[in-house]
């Protein structure tokens, strides 16, 4: 027994020594932290995303030798989707590399809320692609936040436009019942303001129904839905909550084709566990969907054929893997944009912030990067940190996602006044300076 204890103690000391011994890194490297989750309740959705991000950075290093010769130094930290652990990861990684973190992708609305106050102090931009505060698209107030590709208000608006189109116009929604089943967290609550606004405008009855973390017990919610008989159910879930919702919808006989998930409720891990029950279910798309595009050929050639990929090659066309690729690409292109102004060297967070704010991806450039068919052109500016507000709707046919709509643009006549009001309120509460975007270059 004494021998075993000594051995255990020895192992612990050795492990501690190894951790301390790492260090000493090259100077021509751009450090990018990865706040991801491969463990915990949301791992099934976190893993493919993290794989996509890691593979894209590796591809840039392998294929191009880095960003204009500056190698990417990428380090993951597992947040488990918990806000406290996310902040801890951020604190640990923000100063790494020769110039500190280029930017941070919190991959959680809760962590984004927490970092929104820290980022301006540390001068590190926060890219919350397809999540985060909806009003943070206003760059005059949220100088350091970039909810690229779409906010939750955009998502909810696109879904309502799609429903209205199917019903024959917004005026046909009068008297209809719409229920939102949402993750009881900052994330799930985001679309409520927009949906209330739309309900007021078009006279439909809107009921939000919360589901507590992690969302494995939803019987009460779905029995209420069965009793109230809404015309449409919108789903703002994450992780196992999504598949549980779809299973419960099947159990109470709510038609799946009247169910619309946000783009975080529309990937393979959300529908596959519900098996046949998921057939017909709809979800909004954060522009891209599933499938393999130009960039995947490069991934195969430079990584997977050499055994360097993180995932399995046939998983690289999945929705969340593709989202990881898109997320990493937008970051890399922002750094490239910033390099044009500041030179081809490792950049600080402040310099990269300028790059994100001046990011301009044309159709031709997207094609060059291998993202044609996944994304529409986007242009970020001081006033507009979202860059684009386009989206589509997809449907699960029992085996794969099928795109069933044309492109929608969220209606800025509805969104803009809400964004302005919310951003103004935030600036007043936090006593933030408001930039004059007309004077920014």
């Amino acid at each position: 027994m004494r021998l075993m204890k000594a051995a255990l103690l020895g192992a612990a000391v050795a492990a501690a020594g190894l951790t301390v011994a790492s260090g000493a890194q090259a100077q021509n490297e751009q450090f990018i932290p990865g706040l991801i989750y491969r463990t915990g309740a949301y791992a099934p959705n976190g893993i493919p995303f993290a794989n996509g991000v890691a593979d894209y950075y590796a591809l840039v290093n392998e294929r191009d030798g880095g960003i204009n010769g500056v190698k990417i130094l990428y380090e993951e930290c597992d947040t488990g989707y918990a806000t406290d652990r996310g902040v801890e990861c951020y604190e640990r990684l923000k100063g790494k590399g020769p110039t500190g973190a280029a930017y941070v992708n919190p991959l959680s609305t809760g962590i984004t809320f927490a970092l929104t106050e820290k980022a301006p102090v540390d001068k590190i931009p926060v890219i919350s692609m397809g999540y985060g505060r909806s009003e943070s698209r206003d760059g005059s107030v949220f100088q350091w936040n970039f909810p690229l590709l779409g906010t939750y208000w955009s998502a909810a608006d696109i879904i309502m436009q799609h429903i209205a189109l199917k019903e024959g116009g917004f005026e046909k929604l009068k008297g209809k019942k719409v229920v939102l089943v949402y993750h009881d967290s900052p994330y799930g609550k985001e679309p409520i303001a927009l949906l209330e606004q739309r309900a007021k405008m078009h006279g439909f009855e809107f009921t939000p129904m919360p589901v507590t973390h992690p969302g494995v017990e939803q019987k009460a919610t779905w029995l209420q839905i069965r009793q109230n008989r809404p015309d449409y159910v919108l789903l703002w879930g994450w992780g196992i909550m999504n598949s549980t919702s779809i299973k419960e919808a099947a159990a109470v006989g709510f038609p799946r084709d009247k169910m619309f998930g946000v783009w975080w409720s529309g990937a393979e891990p959300d529908v596959r566990p519900a098996e046949g029950g998921a057939k017909g279910y709809h979800a909004a798309m954060l522009q891209h969907g599933a499938g393999q595009f130009g960039v995947h050929a490069d991934l195969k050639k430079f990584l997977y054929d050499k055994g360097k990929g993180v995932a399995k090659y046939d998983e690289t066309g999945e929705v969340l893997y593709n989202r990881g690729l898109v997320n990493a690409m937008l970051g890399v292109e922002s750094i490239r944009t910033a390099q044009k102004k500041f030179g081809n060297k490792p950049l600080t967070g402040e310099q990269v912030r300028w790059g994100i704010e001046n990011l301009d991806l044309s159709a031709a450039r997207l094609k060059e990067l291998g993202f044609e068919g996944m994304l529409q052109p986007l242009k970020v500016s001081c006033q507009d940190h979202e860059g684009t507000r386009a989206g589509r709707v997809q449907q699960w046919d029992g085996a794969k996602w099928v795109v069933v709509s044309d492109w929608y643009q969220s209606d800025d006549k509805v969104l803009k006044p809400m964004v302005d009001a919310a951003a103004k309120k935030y600036a007043e509460e936090k006593k933030l300076p408001v930039r004059d975007c007309s004077k920014e270059s």
Binding site: R38, T39, G40, A41, A43, P44, I47, D184, P208, P210, V211, T212, P214, G215, V216, E217, K219, A220, T221, L223, Q224, R226, Q227, G239, I240, S243, T244, K247, A250, A251, V252, G253, P269, R272, P273, G276, G277, K312, D314
Partner: protein
């Protein structure tokens, strides 16, 4: 109004039976050793993950051959030991001098035989019964490891120290299970029916909806509860367990081996975890969140008492029905009347319900009355 009420009540009661099953795992260990086993939820997850990965692979994410061979080896050891024990009992022979060597040799033979069989079978999914048997053996091994490596060194320590040790076991098992088997959502296919049943369609408009999957799960859980109650009341080892629960020292003085009892208790609660993991896994898919179901058992325990098997059952039913009814009928009234921000109430309401019961019965519904004479 009566229709929706009855429907919610039935749904709540069926969920409640499943809560009872998890609560039972806690009660067994607490009854026999006075330890509140925080790792029960982690054990449920570990068991469910093991079954799911052995029984089949979702979307071609196959398990490594090594894991199959290891699982088969453990099963082989268990079979060899059980066989040996039965044979010895049958021959009614006492232990000889070289007992230890015999056990080791048999275990080794079992492991080699099991491992070789699995290797010959090759990579692939096992039939459900084999996966369950192997998982049962692994849960037994886990119980042995916990007893040998953790509990034995903590005999005579304060209850809180033992509790903290189980906290450590919980985190270890959560992480280790996912490292070993992966953290995707895995399926357990028990062939539970899925199409909803509608009762009394003539009496209530739309009928009363009952989820047949929940119904079957509740029946399985109920059978398990009865088997366990019989095990405690009628078998020799069950009586020994109750003796240990009443008084450690007295039980030891009449020759009941404490270590052996702990091993049995942890194995049994490992098997209860297996059953809970099987049912919850079939219902939700096997994934980390399963371990959080254990938190649902806490209000059940507060309500039913930590030492009572019937308490766990009745407590589960009350909590299950109570939380669903409160969410459906009370929450909207609260929000409307007091203009609250909203949000789900079923999670905290379950605890409040349990605390209200405690006001009237501090020892829990069926707990042992605490009498202290000064």
């Amino acid at each position: 109004m009566l229709g929706p009420f009855l429907e919610t009540l039935i749904g709540g009661l069926l969920t409640g039976v499943l809560y009872s099953l998890v609560a039972l795992g806690f009660v067994l260990i607490f009854k026999a050793s006075g330890v509140f086993n925080f790792a029960q939820g982690a054990m449920v997850l570990f068991a469910a993950l093991t079954i799911a990965r052995l029984a089949g692979a979702i979307d071609n994410k196959e398990v490594f051959l090594g894991q199959f061979v290891a699982a088969a080896a453990v099963l082989g050891v268990a079979l060899a030991l059980v066989g040996w024990y039965v044979w010895r009992e049958y021959m009614a022979r006492g232990g000889g001098g070289d007992e230890r060597r015999k056990v080791l040799l048999l275990s080794l033979l079992g492991a080699v035989a099991g491992g070789a069989a699995a290797y010959a079978y090759g990579k692939g999914a096992w039939p459900m019964w084999l996966a369950i048997a192997a998982t049962a053996a692994i849960m037994g091994l886990l119980a042995y490891a916990i007893e040998r490596l953790v509990l034995r060194h903590l005999v005579n320590q304060e209850g809180i120290i033992l509790f903290m040790a189980t906290l450590g076991i919980a985190y270890f098992l959560d992480g280790f299970g996912q490292t070993l088997w992966g953290s995707d959502i895995y399926k357990i296919n028990l062939g539970l029916p899925k199409d909803p049943i509608f009762l009394f369609e003539g009496v209530f408009p739309g009928g009363l909806l009952v989820d047949p999957g929940d119904l079957v799960a509740a029946v399985i859980a109920a059978v398990l509860v009865i088997v366990l109650a019989l095990f405690f009341q009628k078998t020799r080892i069950g009586r020994a367990l109750r003796a240990v629960a009443d008084d450690h020292a007295a039980a030891q003085s009449v020759g009941i081996p404490l270590n052996m009892i702990w091993l049995v208790v942890w194995t049994v609660s490992g098997l209860v975890a297996l059953a809970a993991g099987l049912i919850w896994g079939a219902k939700l898919g096997v994934q980390f969140s399963i371990s959080l179901i254990a938190l649902k058992a806490l209000p059940v325990l507060i309500l039913g008492g930590f030492t009572s098997v019937p308490g766990a059952i009745v407590g589960g039913l009350i909590i299950g029905a109570g939380e669903k009814l409160s969410e459906v009928f009370l929450a909207p009234i609260l929000v409307k009347q007091f203009d609250l921000a909203g949000g789900g109430i079923e999670n905290w309401f379950a605890y409040m319900l349990a605390l209200v019961f405690l006001l009237f019965r501090p020892q829990g519904l069926f707990g042992e009355r605490i009498i202290e004479r000064v």
